[in-house]
Symmetry: C3
Subunit: 349 residues, 3 copies
């Protein structure tokens, strides 16, 4: 079941230093690899493990190739080359085509003959499931939702009415696409629900992590462009647009109507306020709060690193003393302390 290094070199356009007849059948870390394993070196942090590896072959860059004790598959982007080889060595098992007897598929739904619908799934009228698509156990695909070819809803995914999903997407368990956006009009006696009549359009090659939620638009659509990667427990509000090939790490919240550019990187637990515009290639580091539109390219932050708790309490107390510090300084300088107020007005957010 292995693949020869020669085949891998040809198929992925890699330079091979070593015996092309050697076979590998699985991936492993440099440290844990044994015979028959393929490993890789992409992060310099792990270079120290290279000399001792027992891997049959290692994917690495030209600069490290000379130090490799095993066969070397050389690439200028070893991580991407490794990823492609790993996909070949560890293919997703293919579910058998057809609809499981326990699934409930409305006669008005259109399921491709080579698609697979798992046990306990529900597919409502007007829904479409594309060629070779997989609707896993316990998924709910509501009326009129459309799933493109080769997309996989792993398990217990919910697509609300009219959601449109492109090709080759992967949606992990617990994902909810198309729930109502958070729209309520305040009135004398509380709030009136604003019907959310927009949809959600998701492009091709989009990956969505477990328990992530993407709301439908209020009037127009929420849009996720091609190649976007969302981690677990991300929340995307109504009418957000996320540009192509942007990656969003876990626990991020994106408020309504915010537009994120293409090829952005949004770190874990970041919060984006509503109605903002982030340019292309914006990087926001983890645990930052974005309250203003940000031009791209650029890197932005506001995450405060933890320190010993006693020191942090003093820092917080000193922050509260900043006004008095400024006054004392102004007195020493012989300046009028009162002018601070005006400066504040200009600089406040």
């Amino acid at each position: 079941m292995g693949t020869t290094l020669g085949e891998l070199a040809v198929r992925f356009g890699l330079e091979l230093a070593g015996d092309p007849a050697l076979e590998v059948s699985r991936v492993a870390t440099l440290q844990s690899a044994g015979p028959g394993s393929l490993s890789f070196l992409a992060n310099p942090r792990y270079r120290r493990h290279l000399a001792g590896t027992r891997a049959t072959a290692v994917v690495l860059d030209p600069r490290s190739a000379g130090e490799c004790p095993a066969a070397a598959l050389v690439s200028t982007n070893p991580y991407a080359a490794f990823a492609r080889i790993a996909q070949l060595l560890h293919p997703e098992p293919v579910a058998p085509a057809g609809i499981h007897a326990s699934a409930v598929v409305d006669p008005g739904a259109a399921v491709a003959s080579d698609a697979s619908v798992g046990p306990q799934a529900v597919i409502e009228a007007g829904a479409q499931v594309g060629a070779r698509a997989f609707v896993g156990p316990g998924c709910v695909v509501m009326r009129g939702a459309r799933i493109g070819p080769d997309s996989r809803l792993v398990a217990r995914v919910t697509l609300y009415p009219g959601v449109v999903l492109g090709s080759r997407c992967i949606l992990h368990a617990g994902v909810v696409i198309g729930a109502d956006g958070f729209g309520f009009a305040p009135d004398r006696d509380g709030y009136v629900k604003v019907p959310q009549v927009g949809g959600v359009r998701i492009g091709d090659d989009v990956d969505i992590g477990a328990n992530t939620t993407i709301d439908r638009g209020a009037i127009e659509d929420t849009v996720i462009e091609d190649g976007v990667k969302l981690d677990n427990q991300v929340q995307v509000g109504h009418n957000v647009r996320i540009g192509a090939h942007t990656v969003v790490a876990g626990c991020v919240g994106i408020s309504g109507s915010t537009v994120v550019g293409k090829r952005c990187m949004i770190g874990g637990a970041v919060g984006l306020a509503g109605h903002l515009e982030l340019g292309d290639e914006v990087i926001v580091t983890g645990y930052s709060l974005v309250t203003r539109s940000l031009p791209g390219p650029g890197m932005y932050s506001s995450g405060m690193p933890a320190i010993p708790a006693a020191d942090w309490r003093k820092t917080v107390a000193r922050l509260r003393r900043l006004p008095s510090l400024e006054r004392r300084l102004a007195l020493l300088e012989g300046r009028e302390p009162g002018i601070d107020t005006e400066i504040d007005t200009e600089e406040e957010t």
Copy 2:
């Protein structure tokens, strides 16, 4: 299928400037509206789109009515008026009454004859489903849970034993109500689980967003009062109480035993520590941490806005230099720097 402007004006008590025989059949934004569309203007940010709209009618306030190029439905609260009209034009499809053949309903459960139970749902013994209520596909309603009239569990909602839900609530996919609160007693060999024997009581007209979780009480109940609106991925700990008509944005976490007042607004990703009391009409802006009880009404914040990463790194470094800054200032003033310590003690949190 449209509705005349005359009917709308009468039904919702609006002043009409325009032909009462004109019909509208759907809602649209000012920019995208075409003939037959109803639009609205509530946020001054969108006023610039009013002159060019092709909507048949616009809901707006008296001050903007004169500039409206289409028929005007005038209200002092145009957003709420629009919401009500949108509900009329875009009604929720009514699920047919009855229990789907694939649902598993215990003979000891009481399901109203005009309620609807969707495919693959599970309803355990002693559970009650009220008149015209909807239990969507894949929902689990455990023993003794009660669902009030006209409430909707959209799909894959879980109600734990004994949870009580009022009338006209909407619970979106992935919601979990009544899981065990996080109660563990430390002991020599780790932790002992503290059984969570309280319940969850939810009032009328409560909306709960996708994948939100509300834990059952440890001994007494967790309580969500009438008209509360919770966005997606909100976490509500055991024995929390949320007052009537409070709105909570996405990704908020409310720790155990905290009481939130009525008509509060809690911004996205806010964290509330446990055992606090927030008064009525408290506003907490997004991404703030609340560690003390807050009187209401009032607005509170601690979210730090992101800035260019290089500037932020310098800010963090300078924060750590604040003690030396204070010492240097005290020296210039001829004061004893040591007195800081006592001030710290007073002002620390």
Copy 3:
């Protein structure tokens, strides 16, 4: 159905001050307790309710025993003793052994004869369900996943292929274990998915809260050791290891490859960056961001407490003026302001 105080004293090794023939049948708070109720006093904050309680018996520590108006069950750890008694008085209802007719269990799965599989559950080939284990309604246990004896998947839990779960674990509704880690290799045309071929190993006596997600490892396994307690909506990235008897509060995010020590306490909404190491007995207070490895034992913080919004806006503005404050101070001191830059470099994170 009650239990006598004498039995409780003997069974749990407690000192009893009161009539051993008295019976209790349920738990209650000091304030709400009536005849037949058992209450407890562990937090000094509630001592003021002791004198007025109508409980039949109270579990408390030796110092408070003298003030108890009811029978006293005395323990040096009253909260743990109370927890054990509450487990006795309020046992989990035992589900009947066997597989519900609506469940879909692959013939190649091994379900213990005294295990219970609920309605609409799905168990795939090669999966194992241990003795007395409970797989609740709507759960999905994928191929080759293993559930240890006496573990409970309450409802709508998803275990991905090959996930291994120990004994006596409790997984609440919406939990997802073993979804793909967030691994994508950047390439010219976007990202290449890196197959996640590691697994998830979970020890004994682990509790996992509603809608929490734990990703499978990229190559090696993600590991949760014995006795770990995770609250709701926690996100655990690939290849994380969490040490035995560590507790993690709600909404925490732990990034990939981070190792958390034993007996740690991670507060609500904390974010841990990736590839870090936290020692044993590390406490991180709520809403902190951890960007560096932290030695244990120790307590660390960076959560900023909310204050009135107007004051907070001024604080943010003043933070931005810190550089000019430092310059002004240096001028008064007759120092060269430019030296700041070098200090920055040293102290930056």
